[in-house]
């Protein structure tokens, strides 16, 4: 399983300049944190933020003897900065990404603006289906904040072996709701499942074809172009 997370980021500098700055704060033997550049183009940049933590771990054996080990941990955060689209993509990001964001903010002389995405996840899924030309079905939907009565809400997970959208529509029955997550099943040669969430995250099977993420990115870019701001979610067939 590979996790992707997209954030809205506005870069005040070009990718080449950003690359130069990240290189200046590069990770090498003598440092405990820094960036490693993987790929730089005019419109995007792929890099990793690495942190090294060294500490002594102490274990007490059954006879009360203390054994101390010197341990070294590396924490990595892979990312892709782009001029178009959302602006920042994190790959398998650790839970805490503050140091990475602070490092990027420093590199852009504190001119970087980052914000979370709030997407129409169904439109995103449809875009992916169209771009992949493989059809595919939405076999699970997670709907939150379904207003049953004023002040009373429900959360539902709808699963099926066929497309669940029509049934979900009947279930919601015009009530106020928010679609939180959608699982897309792609059949045939591409056979894979994609879980999309409204906060701009996607989970793909690790054995999925490598161009799957390309379609997800393109669909996201298209969606953001159509409606750049936050939006109200609704099921539409």
């Amino acid at each position: 399983m590979k996790r992707y997370r997209w954030l809205r980021a506005k870069w005040p500098i070009s990718m080449r300049v950003l690359a130069k700055r990240l290189k200046a704060n590069g990770f090498d033997d003598g440092k405990t944190n820094g960036f490693v550049l993987d790929r730089v183009r005019d419109d995007f940049l792929e890099a990793r933020f690495i942190e090294r933590v060294e500490y002594d771990d102490t274990i007490v054996d059954p006879f009360g003897k203390e054994i101390s080990f010197h341990r070294i941990d590396y924490k990595q955060c892979e990312f892709r900065a782009t001029v178009d689209g959302p602006g920042l993509e994190l790959v398998n990001a650790p839970r805490v990404i503050q140091a990475t964001i602070s490092g990027l903010a420093e590199a852009s002389e504190f001119g970087l603006a980052i914000g979370p995405l709030n997407l129409n996840v169904l439109a995103w899924a449809k875009g992916i289906q169209r771009l992949m030309n493989d059809g595919g079905i939405v076999d699970s939907v997670q709907i939150g904040a379904i207003e049953l009565a004023p002040g009373i809400t429900a959360k539902a997970l709808i699963r099926g072996t066929t497309d669940v959208l029509a049934a979900s529509n009947r279930f919601v029955d015009g009530k106020k709701h928010e679609i939180e997550k959608v699982q897309l099943k792609i059949p045939g040669s591409r056979r894979t499942t994609i879980i999309l969430a409204s906060n701009g995250t996607a989970r793909i099977d690790s054995d999925a074809p490598s161009d799957t993420v390309v379609s997800i990115r393109a669909a996201l870019q298209e969606l953001l172009r159509k409606s750049p701001g936050p939006m109200v979610l609704s099921i539409s067939s």
């Binding site: 809205r8 506005k10 440092k31 405990t32 944190n33 933590v53 060294e54 500490y55 771990d57 102490t58 341990r71 941990d73 503050q98 140091a99 964001i101 602070s102 490092g103 990027l104 903010a105 420093e106 002389e109 504190f110 001119g111 970087l112 603006a113 980052i114 914000g115």
Partner: protein, 376 residues
């Protein structure tokens, strides 16, 4: 020595007010414990007011009242520090003389002092600072001001609590130094009076948080920004009609300052928008992770007391998160005095350096502009 006229006995009303006002420290459990100590068992369901009433009606001797006051005392965690630099070097021997003179004149205060090292001298002043907004028993509380003097590169650097009293003590000592040395002495504080543009003021903070040696920035969790008021407005032509218009304008919805709290605030869209609209940082709370063993995460705070003029720089170390078995402790821990002094020293040093660099750049820039104009 405490002024004898200030000694008085505490009535039951005063004890009641004292207990009632400290809801966070004097909890129901504390009240039940205090009553139990007097041999009275009360129901845990009894309301706070009733417990307080019962306790305050008992006879309290001097130590009892002191005990209550001690429980009520809040820890002095939030105290901020400030730094002042004197443009002449003062040896510990000279300082000792000035401080002893100060003690002679200020007999209401208790002054202690000691020589920390050949270049460092510490004075501690115990004084009473009346705070009439508090309940009567808490109005006269003993306070401490520790001022450290460090002789460095032909100057004397002072670290003092960011309070009016500490500043008054420093001013008093400065006058004594001037009288003795028969020469004017200037006190230099970190202030951005020469940096009026919003951009420069913000740069001071961003440079400060990004250039602390061995403490790279991890996260900015609290930020206060204020709008730069254009000073040119006051120099407008004084036409009566316009004055009326100005007064009317002031009544419109105007945001003067904003306090933000969250994660990674300097990279947030909200902050960037405010920055674009001319807001500048006046105080900041940030966490930095040490880039060498023991990899401690430290929460620092820095800002200006006088936000508009960016004067009276004050700063503090809120606490630290320690790395234990590969993970960090969840809550901030207190820092011991030695470590705190080192961390505060880092802020002072970096703030001075950043300010110097910024002033050098802003002074060079107009010169360069003038030269360019001359060339045309």
């Amino acid at each position: 020595m405490r002024d004898l006229s200030q000694l008085y006995y505490a009535t039951n009303r005063e004890i009641r007010d004292l207990l009632l006002s400290g809801k966070q420290r004097i909890t129901e459990n504390v009240l039940l414990e205090l009553l139990r100590d007097r041999g009275m068992l009360c129901s845990p369901d009894e309301p706070r007011d009733a417990l307080v009433e019962r306790l305050s009606m008992l006879t309290h001797d001097y130590t009892d009242v002191c005990g209550l006051l001690e429980r009520r005392e809040s820890p002095r965690r939030g105290e901020k520090t400030s730094t002042i630099s004197i443009d002449i070097p003062l040896t510990p021997e000279e300082l000792k003389e000035f401080i002893e003179e100060y003690q002679k004149d200020e007999s209401n205060e208790k002054v202690t002092h000691y020589k920390k090292s050949t270049d460092e001298f510490v004075m501690n002043v115990t004084y009473f600072d009346p705070d009439y907004s508090k309940t009567r028993l808490l109005q006269w509380q003993e306070r401490n001001a520790t001022i450290e003097f460090v002789k460095k590169d032909g100057r004397t650097e002072l670290r003092l609590p960011a309070t009016d009293k500490a500043r008054a003590i420093v001013d008093n000592i400065k006058e004594r130094v001037e009288a003795k040395k028969k020469m004017p002495v200037t006190l230099e504080e970190i202030e951005l009076t020469n940096l009026t543009s919003a951009e420069d003021r913000t740069t001071f903070f961003t440079k400060l948080i990004s250039s602390l040696p061995h403490f790279p920035l991890e996260n900015v969790s609290r930020l206060r920004v204020a709008h730069s008021k254009s000073k040119d407005l006051s120099e407008d032509l004084d036409i009566e009609d316009e004055e009326v218009e100005d007064a009317a304008e002031k009544m419109l919805g105007v945001v003067e300052n904003v306090a933000l709290s969250g994660e990674n605030l300097v990279a947030s869209e909200m902050y960037q928008e405010l920055k674009e609209k001319g807001f500048y940082i006046t105080s900041i709370t940030w966490r930095a992770r040490q880039n060498k063993d023991p990899y401690t995460i430290v929460e620092f705070d820095a800002g200006f007391e006088d936000k508009e003029d960016a004067k009276r720089f004050r700063y503090s170390v809120h606490g630290v998160l320690r790395l234990k078995h590969g993970t960090y402790t969840k809550h901030l821990r207190q820092v011991d005095d030695d470590e705190k002094a080192k961390l505060l020293g880092l802020i002072e040093e970096t703030a001075r350096k950043v300010l110097e660099e910024l002033l050098a750049v802003t002074q060079v820039a107009p010169d360069a502009a003038e030269q360019a104009d001359g060339g045309v």
